[in-house]
Symmetry: C2
Subunit: 146 residues, 2 copies
Amino acid sequence: MSDTAANQESNVRRLAESLNARLREVVLLLRRVNADQQVTNQQLSVLGSLTSGPRRMTELAAEHGVRLPTMTVLVRRLVRSGLVVRGALRGDARVVTVELTPQGAEQLEAGRERRIAFLAERLSALSVDERAALVAALPVLRKLFT
Amino acid sequence: MSDTAANQESNVRRLAESLNARLREVVLLLRRVNADQQVTNQQLSVLGSLTSGPRRMTELAAEHGVRLPTMTVLVRRLVRSGLVVRGALRGDARVVTVELTPQGAEQLEAGRERRIAFLAERLSALSVDERAALVAALPVLRKLFT
DNA sequence: GTGCAATACTTAGCCTAGCTAACTTAAACT
DNA sequence: AGTTTAAGTTAGCTAGGCTAAGTATTGCAC
């Protein structure tokens, strides 16, 4: 078992391939889980960016990988649904801020609970050792994905 | 450190919460990675279901968590782009099958390479121990997500 | 073996979610 | 004061989702 640079590189490659496969699976799974929901996945995702306070349009667009006009329309629909309100930033009149309403927070929490309940159900089918392996990997996943 | 049933349940719950947070991150990340791509994420995803041979419309719709009419339209666009061809099943004239074209396979492979390269780049920033934790968790993730 | 229910899709019409190009307004920098 | 840059919005296009309704084929009942 040598540990040359070339060897490490091929390990990384194989790991990336496996991880890619798992990501495909989980994306498909999450799509199936959220199908037939009133608030869309994308809307929940935007609401999720607002938990720690108001955000600017530009920030939201960047975080979600969409252009500004797309975020404008997303937010407009969320406003129409009463889930967020638009606001202004004192000091720069160009900036628009977006903030959760109580109803928005409620919807967000409901979606969160749905996903967590789904995951918990699946997790409870695993063995203690399997869950321990996941717990050990979580900080790494965090580092990897942020 | 007791190991009662109630304790295990709360462990599962906390694990589900963390996993949920990581999943949110990775979904955002993947969206940012595939933004500005010619073939959409959803199209790549459907192409990915065809690697092991032709599939029926109904199967594809179920796998991707969409209704049949949605899959009809998705496949129509893929046909128009020359990435798949429609076929028939001998024995049941109602069934429509969908199969990759060489160009479809090519696009699929390109998308796969993009994602794998992206992941490999990030993975290579991790320590050997961190990657080992991921390797240990991969089979569990597979069990969890399929 | 005819009739009818179920199965497998498609079409039509509606909404959401993404894009670019072009516009408006406000800030910032000569 | 005048121009450039920054922050959003509007308009118009395409992709991706849904339901309702239609078509054709299969399979089953009798």
